[in-house]
């Protein structure tokens, strides 16, 4: 089973997003809408993708196809250890990002964690500062990853957008689930790396 580049990217993005509309795929892939629509149409014909009320899912056959393509496309990356080394660096930033996002949601008060009601700008600013610092490390990391797999460069743009909107006062862009928030995009990136490396996520 082989897939053309565009088809692979679209199918891969559907798999990462699990259930997605066209807009989500445009944001994830950065490809032109028409190209995505055409790829989805071909994938649906080949029974790789299912569509229902404007949402797309990967069909079992599509998942098998993807796994085969990963093994083929990322064979060198898996074997040469470079990607694995980048992934180890990602893990370090990952722990930090998760802790920062958690501190955005809960804050310690008198030895207990209480929901952060966002009434203290100094606290929130401190958390955003830490997120921006972690983001600088993530950007360096992604620049390295994008040299191996250019497609991954897109994550840096999406994370930067989320960070800027959060810094501009739109708190949902830290970890809201209904937008491409920092946490949402970060997890998509994490899943992407795991699929490429054929690994399981460790909590």
């Amino acid at each position: 089973m082989t897939l053309a580049d565009t088809e692979f990217e679209v199918l891969h993005a559907v798999a990462l997003r699990k259930r997605t509309d066209l807009d989500g795929l445009v944001r994830s892939t950065g490809l032109p809408r028409e190209a995505i629509e055409a790829a989805l149409e071909r994938a649906a014909e080949a029974k790789l993708v299912l569509a229902a009320r404007g949402s797309y899912f990967v069909a079992p056959e599509g998942d098998r196809a993807l796994r085969a393509v990963y093994a083929d496309r990322f064979a060198t990356a898996r074997a040469d250890g470079g990607l694995a080394a980048d992934y180890a660096r990602f893990e370090a930033v990952n722990r930090e990002v998760k802790a920062i996002v958690t501190d955005w949601q809960v804050r310690p008060v008198g030895g207990q964690k209480l929901p952060n009601d966002h009434s203290d700008p100094a606290y929130d600013d401190g958390v955003l500062d830490r997120l921006a610092q972690a983001h600088e490390r993530a950007e360096q990391l992604l620049a390295g990853l994008a040299r191996r797999v250019p497609r991954l460069g897109r994550y840096a743009e999406r994370l930067t957008t989320a960070l800027h909107r959060a810094e501009a006062g739109e708190g949902d862009w830290v970890c809201g689930v209904r937008c491409d928030s920092y946490h949402t995009v970060w997890f998509e990136l994490h899943e992407d790396l795991l699929r490429m490396l054929d690994r399981q996520r460790e909590e």
């Binding site: 700008p121 501009a168 006062g169 689930v177 909590e203």
Partner: protein, 489 residues
């Protein structure tokens, strides 16, 4: 007459616009006669001058020198001196808090000579070496920003660089983006506070801690807090050592403890609200570092508002106006009663990750959860872990349970974001045990209970403090008052 600097000597409380909010707070404490490590401020005026000329005015440096001389006189120490060296903390402070400002540089003034002097003075070379290492790490990261430049040897050069770095940070990308969004002027200068260091990690008669003037979790009018001996602030933050309660301080250093509680009472009376006071003790001497209005739980907020009004510290109208509708809703949230909890079998235990109680039929599959919820059924989702592809299942569920993961895991973050009760890390095999049963998830206690249990629904008129507030408001429903107020603003 100083033009560019202000000494925090208790004679006046300068304008926060000029010295920044944090320095204004220590100026208020000093003016009340409380012991704060001596400090002076390089004002926002100096920052403004720097930003337009790209250098500090000459007479500005003369004033900073004389500020240092004043700190030396106040502490009996000498900056860069070969005996009893003075070290300082350098921090930024704008009138408005905003992201992107420079972090605090601690222990500035240390180099090879002053390290040796500190080692002689304390008889503790390890302490002196640790202090220097920490300063160099902070200075390299915060001031030199990871460039390969060397940390300056001369304490006065260190100070000059740090002051300029604070001024520059008011122009950082992050600070500017924030000001633009909030319609603040792009030229918002920051002040620099230069404060003598005190050492909570000097010996066993030293330490650091936090005092809440009342319990911030329950609101009980009893001092509450924690203390860590032989430690500095970041030791508490890092969580490497677990702090003891304030009672341990009363046994170890009763005089410092009594002085601390008295300071807390004074600050609460003056500020007319519960305070969260950071303090350090250096060889039995108490220093206050910062006081702020304390964060508190919703329950505590309600009780504190009533108690302060009963004590006559605030008016009855103000007691009501201090609360938010969200806090009152949180207090009235359906809860698990102690009696119900004791009478119900626990099916699983884990880490509480998102508060509240939710119940329903336990489902392992996200698509099934979504389908059954769409048919009007209440379901609880249990997963080994969750990832982005499970979000639709979390949205559909009343509550979430995972087998593996902690408070920063995907399930925890997403559940909190969606206000769904969540218990994480219940252990492998939990899903198999729970699937197909009815269960109640207690996101506050971290337990999964058998069946759909009845919850207690507190009512405003039965709640001792809410009822009193409602009476003060002429027996109107508190939530109506607060919602009306919030919709107006």
């Amino acid at each position: 007459m100083n033009r560019w600097t202000v000494r925090i000597d208790g004679s006046i409380v300068p304008d926060p616009q000029k010295i920044g909010g944090k320095a204004a707070s220590i100026a208020r404490m000093t003016a009340l006669g409380l012991r704060v490590p001596p400090a002076f401020v390089v004002t926002t005026e100096a920052c403004r001058a720097f930003l337009s000329n790209r250098e500090i005015p000459d007479d500005g440096w003369t004033e900073i020198e004389s500020g240092i001389a004043w700190l030396e006189a106040e502490t009996g120490r000498s900056f860069g001196g070969s005996s009893r060296p003075l070290l300082v903390a350098v921090r930024s402070g704008a009138a408005v808090s905003m992201p992107g400002m420079m972090d605090t540089v601690l222990d500035l003034g240390i180099n090879g000579e002053t390290e040796a002097a500190l080692a002689r003075e304390t008889g503790d070379p390890a302490f002196a070496a640790q202090t220097r290492a920490r300063f160099e790490e902070l200075f390299a990261r915060i001031v030199l920003r990871g460039s390969c430049e060397e940390v300056p040897h001369d304490p006065r050069h260190q100070l000059r660089r740090a002051v300029i770095a604070v001024f520059e940070s008011s122009r950082s990308r992050r600070a500017r983006a924030y000001r633009k969004h909030h319609g603040l002027t792009d030229d918002l200068p920051t002040a620099v506070t230069v404060q003598a260091m005190v050492f909570g990690n000097l010996d066993d008669r030293s330490g650091t801690g936090v005092l809440f003037t009342r319990n911030p979790l329950t609101g009980a009018p009893v001092p509450y807090g924690e203390f860590l001996s032989r430690a500095q602030g970041e030791d508490v933050v890092s969580g490497a050592r677990t702090p003891a309660s304030l009672d341990s301080l009363s046994e170890l250093m009763p005089r410092a403890h009594e002085e601390l509680l008295a300071a807390g009472r004074l600050l609460e009376n003056v500020e007319r609200d519960v305070q969260d006071v950071e303090f350090t003790i250096e060889r039995d001497t108490l220093f206050l570092l910062q006081t702020r209005t304390a964060k508190r739980s919703a329950d505590a907020a309600v009780r504190i508002a009533v108690d302060l009004a009963r004590d006559g510290k605030i008016g009855k109208d103000e007691a009501i106006s201090r609360l938010t509708a969200a806090q009152v809703r949180a207090v009235l949230r359906p809860r698990l009663s102690q009696a119900t909890r004791a009478a119900t079998r626990v099916l699983a235990r884990g880490e509480p990750a998102s508060p509240g109680v939710g119940a329903g039929a336990v489902v392992e599959d996200c698509d099934e959860a979504e389908r059954r919820a769409a048919e009007g059924e209440r379901v609880v989702l249990v997963r080994p872990t969750t990832s982005p592809e499970d979000v639709h299942g979390i949205i559909a569920a009343q509550a979430v349970i995972t087998e593996v993961g902690g408070s920063t895991s995907h399930a925890a973050v997403v559940s909190r974001s969606l206000n769904k009760p969540c218990v994480v890390g219940c252990g492998p095999g939990t899903a198999a045990v729970l699937a197909g049963r009815n269960a109640t998830v207690d996101g506050d206690g971290g337990e999964v209970l058998e069946g759909v249990v009845d919850l207690e629904e507190p009512r405003e008129r039965d709640h001792p403090y809410l009822a009193e507030l409602a009476a003060w408001a002429g027996n109107r429903r508190l939530l109506d008052i607060l919602d009306a107020r919030d919709s107006k603003s």
